[in-house]
Symmetry: C2
Subunit: 538 residues, 2 copies
């Protein structure tokens, strides 16, 4: 059936051939030696420019896609829950380069070899959906979201205009609306999905600046006073990156001390604002964090909102990580006050497993600020003489032009699971974090950094050789070397992945992130057993 | 076999249960009325927080994924070459909202319903891989690249560190290297993949600024002189967006006139530079375009490079669209001089069909400028006490944190096809554009705007009723209304998609973009016939 279709197509185009003789036979310049892989297969492609019909064999390509899908199913989807497999198959850069033939050549490869490349890449990739992967603020991807991304990758919508992505423009609107509802923005607002939370934090900074000084868009900053913003010392590093990128300057990010639990100290914020003003600088924004990267802390939003109101500052909340708590009636209190924020960054690809990047930037403004701030009104995309309501075109809200429809997979997953199951998952992850914290407290040689209030569990492992040394600088100096060594061993054995870092005056500790609904208490116990197994001799 | 696995898992976790009684039975708060779709199926999820084992039925989920893959295969992949289907199934926003049930609810849905949603979304999405889709600077996606994105979506690497994405960090390095080789950067350079060309253009502007005034990263722009950059009037609108975003200001983008073919006039650039200096502003960058959005024009890079050298200006080339010509020995002359650029933006998702977003930003600097410009050295990701060579960690070159491994699908496609087939495709697309231009010249009622030198073919359609009116403002006023009306009709009938716009003093014309290797001369003829069919009565 398929091959008969192909024959028909060829027949149709052959009838066109007669008038094409003048342009249909241009040879390509080079005829280099082909690498071994292209010899003797049907995939060494035609050498002439033919304009009649496709140059490729569609049925063969279809069969390739089908085989590749089977590999993904077998090697990724079905192995997701398999605890017995490795989390990673560690190779040094040098070894991995040797193992994989990465070079790009003149000739192509047989489909079988391309399929083998997919297998190899999967093999040496970190298994982010393995039950023992706890390394990042995201973990694998929900199956529904994964299917959603397959659909998006196959259809390639670009939601800058309704014309190019009608369904996706509408879906983005619905999802943003629902997220706003969860934040208690009763009057709604505006927003857009971005490739990552760092980008959303940049949007916030640009919007805060534009709202106060719209002329800067046109005039630039060179004639402006020194603008200053505030964030806590535990904020994400993207705040500094944004200040550098937007021409504000990293030194104009005033870093407010955080308390022992990593929460911005409101009184210190007040102090810093007064300092900035006394220096002749102009404060314009506070970037609060709901769910810090390392400790999983939540800034006191109500207190910060009070201060922002008093000083007429834009309140942005980086809830990229902590936003997940908003779907839980039990935990949403962590973000109490978020309804007063001017803007929020919230990444469903993190706690809600919508697959990276899936990052919403939300603004409470309803006057079109987002669009006015970023618009360039390109005539080839945003024609004003279109035949439909162009308020559905979203492209002028974005700093991108083409944009992936990241929202779709989140919507599909949400539809499939329902809010209640999203809530259930978040509750379960946070309960699991508590379970792990309790276990840490029970075990010799483990020390909890602080009680978790979210899904970050931070702790030290003290090997037996150090357990009798009293807490002193020398002791912590020795502890500092433990986590990197244990990490190296776990990577090389591939038994699990847990991150580590030092933080302020705290020596290197493990930061364990719990997200997946597919992990059990047995997996928590495994982590502690395994760290001990790997580090007991240190 | 799968269900026996599941039983084992349950058995293992049940043994853990005894000590969990205190935390394993927390009821969720809400028990709202479920929508009809969740009743009577196994997908209404558990109501308690259970920590033992997964809350979901993995085998059922696997079967869902398999069915979804079959739908993608059937509805997207196999229909890609089917000319008889519609390019789009147009519905107004209001109608589409009625047709699709987009609302997000408390309860979930049965898998069958979720699969139906995938079908519906595919149905109402634009068929970007349809042979009659000529609307954007991208078209569908190559099959190999599509498979590559499926693999990436399933495995979720984030190439900020070698640890998290070993294969992808190496692949990014290889692909960037090969792209540099094609630009004639014999000594190599540096680079990174970004979500879109607009972003790459922003990188260029930030880098040009940083290279000249590294202190701005820390100090910001408020004490700096007025910095000015230059670009042609035919440049992409992202240059203005970037200037606004980076605090440079849109009025500090000096717009250089272009000639009739849309190429920046070097002498005019010289003039503008002198003007800026005489105003006390400080020029720092020229953003040239290789392949403009509307006309597909190439700025004279050699001439611009001379001027940049003379005035010590950073030369950036936005080759997002035109970069594809670099793979063709026949057409790479269009970018002659690109080896002298300081930075280049090149989107393989456009002409090379690598699937959006796949956008490379390349810098000729080899001293680590990119990293110094964007680094924030986050302690939780970029530990300096790692056990491997951290020069493979790419995260500090990026303004993002998490980042999709967009490069993989490009690499996989390139491996499968070989450079020669990429070259063949580009040659074929440009040959096809010439064929169309010739046809336009032959036909009554069609007027070519200019001879194409790339894959943009711009032309007017003049309906019979206007053909006897002489060229005068009234005539062009009437022509202005033709393209939008034809476009409306083609969208509503779904027969094809071709963009239109006005440009400078030129009334609305069609801008046809030819990329796909799956279109034939018959498809070109169809476009002209169809425009006449749709517009003959106007």
């Amino acid at each position: 059936m398929i091959s008969s279709l192909l024959t028909t197509k060829t027949a149709v185009t052959l009838t066109m051939d007669s008038r094409l003789t003048d342009i249909s036979c241009r040879g390509l310049k080079e005829k280099t030696n082909m690498p071994e892989s292209t010899e003797g297969n049907s995939w060494s492609h035609a050498e002439t420019v033919q304009l009649n019909g496709s140059t490729e064999d569609l049925p063969e390509t279809d069969s390739f896609v089908q085989q590749a899908m089977a590999i993904i199913m077998e090697e990724v989807v079905k192995k997701a829950g398999d605890v017995s497999g490795k989390v990673c198959e560690w190779r040094s850069p040098e070894d991995l380069k040797e193992l994989l033939d990465l070079e790009l050549r003149e000739g192509g490869e047989a489909p079988a070899q391309t399929l083998q490349r997919c297998r190899d890449v999967i093999r040496y990739s970190v298994k982010t959906n393995h039950p023992h992967f706890f390394n990042q603020l995201y973990v694998g991807v929900d199956h529904y979201a994964m299917v959603g991304s397959f659909v998006t990758d196959a259809t390639q919508p670009s939601p800058y205009t309704y014309e190019m992505a009608p369904v996706h423009c509408l879906i983005e609107d619905v999802v943003l609306g629902k997220m706003m509802e969860m934040m208690g923005w009763v009057e709604g607002g505006d927003g857009i999905f971005n490739p990552g939370g760092s980008m959303s934090n940049m949007y916030a900074m640009n919007l805060a600046r534009f709202q106060r000084w719209p002329d800067i868009k046109e005039q630039g900053l060179s004639a402006s006073p020194r603008l200053v913003l505030f964030t806590s010392k535990d904020c994400h590093y993207s705040v500094a990156k944004a200040a550098a990128f937007l021409g504000i300057g990293t030194k104009n990010v005033y870093v407010v001390p955080a308390d022992q639990r990593g929460k911005m100290i409101a009184m210190e914020l007040e102090k810093q604002i007064r300092t900035a003003i006394s220096e002749g600088a102009v404060p314009f924004m506070v970037s609060a964090t709901a769910g810090t990267t390392v400790l999983g802390s939540f800034d006191p939003l109500e207190e910060l909102a009070d201060i922002c109101e008093q000083h007429n500052l834009w309140l942005h909340v980086d809830a990229c990580w902590g936003g997940g708590a908003l779907v839980s009636s039990k935990h949403k209190h962590l973000l109490k006050g978020i309804h007063r924020a001017n803007s929020v960054a919230w990444n469903p690809h993190k706690m809600l497993m919508a697959g990276q990047q899936c990052s919403a930037f939300l603004v409470r403004d309803k006057t079109g600020l987002l669009q006015r701030c970023h618009s360039a009104s390109a005539s080839y995309l945003f024609q004003t003489d279109k035949f439909y309501d162009i308020s559905y075109d979203t492209g002028d809200k974005s700093i991108q032009c083409g944009r992936k429809a990241d929202v779709f997979r989140f919507w599909l997953m949400w539809k499939a699971l329902g809010t209640r199951e999203l809530e259930h998952r978040v509750d379960r992850a946070l309960e699991m974090a508590k379970y792990l914290a309790e276990e840490i407290k029970k075990r010799d040689g483990f020390r909890l950094l602080m009680e978790p209030e979210y899904a970050n569990v931070c702790f030290w492992y003290i090997p037996p050789s150090l357990r009798n040394i009293p807490d002193c600088p020398e002791f912590w100096q020795k502890v500092q070397a433990v986590a990197p060594k244990v990490k190296e061993r776990m990577m090389k054995q591939g038994s699990m992945m847990v991150g580590y870092q030092s933080h302020g005056d705290k020596a290197n500790f493990f930061r364990m992130i719990i997200i997946s609904p597919w992990v059990s208490t047995a997996d928590m116990d495994f982590v502690l057993d395994e760290i001990h197994r790997l580090g007991a001799d240190l």
